[in-house]
């Protein structure tokens, strides 16, 4: 593999592979190779240019995994999926954030929806994923005091990333709006269908359109089909 990497164990049942300068789509590709290596549908968390895998006694195979990854060739032409996510930009931080960034709310929305982003990793909450990278003009440190109740489906930004709150939670990100669909559903398989390396576009919609989409109650395969873009 052309990327430099290190592997470390935490206890007997987890191994972390850190890969400098790796692209999210390559991370996804390596994660699928790990499943082959362990010959099982292993639980792998992709986060910040690293993969952490959880499997009973996997730490005993650290050296073996090292040799496996050293000789691994990652496919060159990987085509990511692209999702278009309809957002009603009416978030409770929109006005205040626009003021902070010295923009009108309309400019802020236009800036946010005119970029193509990439899913960089998972973490924080069940079904929460990190979407990067925000254009420089939208980058802002997270709030110094977190908001106690950030509503479910909130589309929020902080640092270089956008996130979508799968459940109500406290959180320090600035809420721009609400997604029209739930991307985390523990009652369908898979509970989350987007993956690391996938591309994301946000699309501003009116409150009428938002209500219409909410009323469709799309889930699972139907929802995937609705959000998947043909590029």
């Amino acid at each position: 593999m052309k990327h430099k990497f290190t592997i470390y164990a935490m206890g007997q049942d987890s191994l972390t592979v850190e890969l400098d300068g790796i692209k999210p789509i390559e991370l996804k590709c390596i994660a699928s190779h790990l499943k082959h290596f362990f010959d099982t549908d292993i639980d792998v968390l992709a986060l910040n240019q690293s993969l952490t895998l959880f499997e009973k006694n996997c730490a005993t195979r650290l050296d073996e995994l090292h040799s496996f990854l050293a000789t691994l060739e990652i496919e060159e032409a990987l085509t990511p999926k692209r999702w278009e996510l309809p957002v009603h930009y009416n978030g409770h931080d929109l006005e205040a954030l626009a003021e902070k960034l010295k923009k009108t709310p309309e400019d802020l929305i236009e800036l946010h929806q005119s970029h193509t982003y990439t899913i960089e990793g998972f973490g924080f909450l069940p079904g929460f994923f990190y979407i990067g990278s925000l254009p420089k003009a939208l980058q802002i440190p997270r709030k110094s005091t977190p908001t106690l109740r950030v509503p479910k489906r909130s589309v929020a930004i902080a640092g270089t990333q956008t996130g979508i709150y799968p459940i109500e939670s406290s959180g320090g990100w600035y809420v721009l709006g609400e997604l029209a669909f739930d991307l985390f559903d523990p009652d369908v398989q898979p509970p989350v269908f987007v993956d690391v390396g996938d591309e994301v576009r946000f699309k501003a919609i009116s409150s009428d359109k938002f209500e219409l989409l909410r009323g469709q109650h799309l889930k699972g395969a139907q929802l995937q089909e609705r959000l998947l873009c043909s590029k």
């Binding site: 206890g11 986060l47 998972f122 985390f184």
Partner: protein, 284 residues
């Protein structure tokens, strides 16, 4: 059904936990004291993953709406079945209409109420462990019903020795975590003393008796799991427990053993905790 007539302080349904979904950010969850939980299922000859009611400190009042056998497992617990005091680690028969009152856990925190066959609530992602993100509730409330299979067979003879927590001194065993080197070399990690200041199902806040010096203050957000000991910028340690998030941004200085994680679950606020760290990574 077991009806929650009056909920305890923090009643939840738990099993061994939810495996295979950390890649999408879903916590492990599961019984805080897996040892006590497992023992309850062994005594009832249940499957090891049969779900049990987890009671925290002060339990509630529960109505059996069908006959079954049940057991209370954990530290010494004051409990009453139809006005008769009952002991822990002993299997009892409950009739339709029997009322169990779990008053308080005496020398620990978590006790398990298990029934024959386990509680058979709807599974979410292959587990019955309650978590806010999956069930929309944090704990059981008055009127909630926990379904179980009717059992009218003979009372089950205990064929396992009584459960013992062994030594009472709270000495926890740990191995170095990935950011262990961030602790100052002068730290005597062979025996670190803490006071437990606060806890919930996600984590335990430990105040060290001496200031823990460290080199840097935070890391990039990285994978964590129950047992990881994080060092916060203010010098406190947070031991992550069963409901911990899958990622965190504080240095991961130590990792508690599974056995120590169970032991920690039974330590009360204000008590002293000693963590002994061995360098040998093959220790676990």
């Amino acid at each position: 059904m077991l009806e929650i007539v009056r909920p305890g302080l923090w009643d939840t349904l738990q099993d061994q936990g939810r495996f295979g979904y950390r890649g999408i950010g879903v916590p492990l969850s599961g019984a805080m004291d897996q040892e006590a939980f497992s023992h309850a299922n062994r005594l009832l000859r249940n499957a090891p993953d049969a779900a049990a009611l987890e009671v925290c400190q002060n339990g509630g009042v529960y109505l059996f709406k069908a006959p079954t056998c049940f057991v209370l497992c954990g530290p010494a617990t004051e409990a009453v079945l139809d006005d008769q005091s009952i002991a822990t680690h002993t299997v009892y028969s409950a009739k339709k209409g029997s009322v169990l009152s779990v008053r308080r856990v005496i020398n620990g925190v978590y006790t398990y109420v298990a029934v024959k066959g386990g509680f058979v609530t709807d599974q979410k992602l292959n587990s019955r462990s309650m978590h806010l993100s999956l069930y929309g509730i944090q704990k059981l409330k008055k009127g909630d019903q926990l379904p179980y299979q009717v059992y009218e067979g003979p009372n089950i003879e205990a064929d396992h020795p009584p459960f013992s927590k062994g030594q009472q001194e709270a000495v926890l065993q740990a191995i170095p975590g990935p950011e262990f080197h961030q602790l100052h070399p002068s730290t005597d990690f062979s025996s670190l003393k803490f006071t437990l200041s606060d806890h919930n199902r996600m984590g335990y806040r430990l105040l060290p008796s001496v200031h823990l010096k460290r080199s840097t203050e935070s890391i990039r957000s990285a994978a964590v799991f129950p047992g990881i000991v994080q060092l916060t910028p203010s010098g406190e340690c947070i031991v992550l427990h069963r409901d911990a998030q899958v990622s965190g941004g504080y240095p991961r200085i130590l990792i508690l053993t599974e056995q120590s994680l169970n032991r920690l679950a039974q330590i009360k606020k204000g008590e002293i905790v000693v963590i002994k760290c061995t360098i040998d990574p093959s220790f676990t």
